[in-house]
Symmetry: C2
Subunit: 416 residues, 2 copies
């Protein structure tokens, strides 16, 4: 595949920037972040007017209301982006720390954290990702190449220009923050082959985007996102609490990856529990797609089909299945899980421990909502995405996940 | 690409095994490892006779002597493989430890280490990789799929059968250790697309093999190996020590990735240092390929061409260049380095610190041989390969690098 000259130039500029960013001190990086935060509020009018063009184009194309809402920026959301950068300033610098040991021959080995180098983000819809990703990459000493969706292109162009200028004018190397303004799919595909320039690609968006990156990228990928999350209500669950947790997991924000998609109910409590949670769902407009046993108890449920068990609805729909025991629940989750977040509701110690141990997922909960899988809620202070792969990072990723290690070895003329 | 039924069966068996291996205790895993170690010495005759068939075939094909030596097993090397497994038994289990914190809402988050799942190794020549990789994977709770080179197929088949039977008969799940006995290239390519079954592919071998895996694998890859390693002899170097370190780095075992390939010499000391190291090389049959300035000083050196600076010789050849200062050395290394191991020889504090900080490589040394980049020499007790990528692992990889993390969250009915 031929890589366009524009992308090669972007790649080379990013590489040059990364070389200097790698040993830029925390104070210098924070100074740039502060300048970026200020520049956003200073250029509010410019951002709003670019965003209005995106929204207008989206309305003209007849995009769904929910997508247009994701696109929309307001004075308040611009202030929010600016505040988010200030929160990144307050976070500890992930670069420079580490372990240290001495070998019997006197070699002193320092295992230290360094930036990844050049991070490419490929994402959809929400323009605030442009600002969030740039801030987290800069704080961790990485150059970033941002490739947002075509719907947000006008907003992204203005946002990237404002923050990259602010960063450069305050001492960051030129090319630290760059946007790929070409929206054609071919440019995204070319980016995925730029191993000479990129250290990692992080896709953020729907399952289609992520699959495209996995299939086409020769650059190492951190896979984020898809969450077919399960809750298992055990026979020993407190049913009132189980209703609160399941309802919260499903409805508090159904459009996100840590929202619940499938509910499994132990057959011993199905007759008592299903009407309890079913009523709550029914009253709040949640469609239930159930197995046959569910349909026997809830006459307002629709029948689930095979594909329902593998579907991330991201909507007010839930699939519900009655299982005969913990083993069947574990088998069902093993088969359909995307290894994002799974929760059990039980008061039984051994059942809880078995679930924690045997479920293979980024996050496994006992008696809590799946919605806690989030960098902020985990206490990381930020989030660049939620990894559903096992290499490098798993679960919520924050600043340390944007670094790698480097061994510095202090010798006194040792030879082998 | 259609995946053959044999590979799908191997993949499914590995996945089933991995599900059980993930929570197999340390004592049970060590019991299997002990059985594997014993089985190897018990079946020595069988191994030697299979190996003789490989060696015979290799001689018939006219393979290079050095390749045949890599292939050759002896009573001593079989004992060595068995001892290596016993060393793995003595290593701490990388699974199960971690950090733990409590959130303000009472959620207790346990960040624990778990196995990756299914690890595929694609490797060349040396049959002991079959045994080493299987032992490290089992100890870290991973199922492994081994795909060795066609030259060692008879040895690998017997070795894999002996150790997998020993593992299963001593309580490990069926499918924990499997060899892909089909040597056709198409099977390796199919393996690289088995995302549903594999969590990682680790290629070990020449640059060609590694490039093929990077270009074709949709499964996450840990890139190992290629090392165009540099030494920079600074103007403030102790020249006698610099000669010892450089000579050791180049010649102690020239066929491995941490051996030195390029020597950079500060122009202020070139006239004194080059004859010193040049004589040592000349007397010991090391070919020198030098820049023009080197040729002026050493009349027995051959001229280096552009491609020499990017070549991993893995042989008694070294490229040598005179540079005007540290900056030129850093620029040269930046341009040609494969980011494996680089060393500086200097007595100047600030020069040493700048080299450590500004070189982007897995391991950076001051006044020591590059040959120390090795799991054993770093104190890890084992090595599954040396990563030259930045994601997941960098430098020598041992047992912890065969694990990932899992968050286990203990709740008391928290909702968002």
């Amino acid at each position: 595949m031929e890589i366009s000259q524009e992308l090669l130039t972007i790649g080379q500029r990013a590489k040059n920037a990364a070389r200097r960013l790698a040993f830029m001190g925390t104070e210098a990086k924070n100074k740039s972040l502060a300048a970026m935060a200020e520049a956003l509020t200073d250029h509010q009018e410019e951002i709003l007017s670019a965003n209005a063009r995106d929204v207008q184009a989206a309305e003209k194309k007849g995009l769904r209301k929910s997508l247009i809402n994701r696109l929309l920026l307001t004075e308040k959301s611009i202030k929010g982006m600016s505040e988010a950068i200030k929160e990144v300033i307050a976070l500890p610098d992930p670069v420079g720390g580490g372990e240290f040991w001495t070998r019997p021959n006197g070699l002193r080995i320092q295992k230290t954290r360094v930036p990844l180098g050049v991070v490419a983000m490929i994402y959809e819809a929400r323009p605030n990702v442009t600002v969030d990703a740039a801030a987290l990459c800069l704080k961790s000493g990485n150059a970033c190449i941002l490739r947002g969706g075509s719907e947000a292109i006008e907003s992204n162009k203005v946002l990237a220009q404002i923050i990259s200028e602010a960063a450069e004018n305050s001492g960051s190397p030129a090319g630290s923050i760059q946007l790929v303004a070409m929206t054609g799919r071919e440019y995204a595909l070319q980016l995925m082959k730029m191993n000479k320039y990129l250290d990692v690609i992080i896709p953020r968006g729907g399952a289609g985007l992520i699959q495209t990156v996995i299939e086409n990228s020769t650059v190492p990928v951190i896979q984020t996102g898809t969450g077919v999350c399960h809750a298992f209500v055990d026979k020993d669950a407190d049913l009132e609490k189980a209703a609160a947790i399941v309802y919260n997991s499903k409805t508090q924000n159904p459009g996100v990856c840590n929202a619940l998609e499938t509910l499994l109910v132990h057959e011993d409590v199905a007759r008592n529990y299903l009407p309890l949670i079913g009523q709550k769902f029914k009253q709040n407009g949640v469609e239930i797609r159930g197995c046959e046993k569910v349909l026997c108890v809830l006459d307002y449920a629709n029948p689930a089909e095979e594909q329902d068990w593998a579907t991330e609805y991201l909507d007010l729909i839930i699939s519900v299945k009655v299982v005969k025991d913990l083993d069947e629940a574990l088998d069902h989750i093993y088969k359909y899980s995307t290894k994002h977040s799974e929760t059990i509701i039980t008061e039984d110690y051994s059942t809880a421990q078995r679930f924690l141990r045997e479920i293979d997922a980024a996050v496994v909960y006992v008696n809590a909502s799946t919605r806690f899988t989030d960098g902020g809620r985990f206490g990381f202070g930020a989030e660049i995405g939620i990894s559903t792969q096992k290499l490098h990072a798993r679960g919520p990723m924050a600043l340390p996940e944007l670094t790698t290690i480097k061994y510095m070895v202090y010798g006194d003329n040792q030879i082998v």
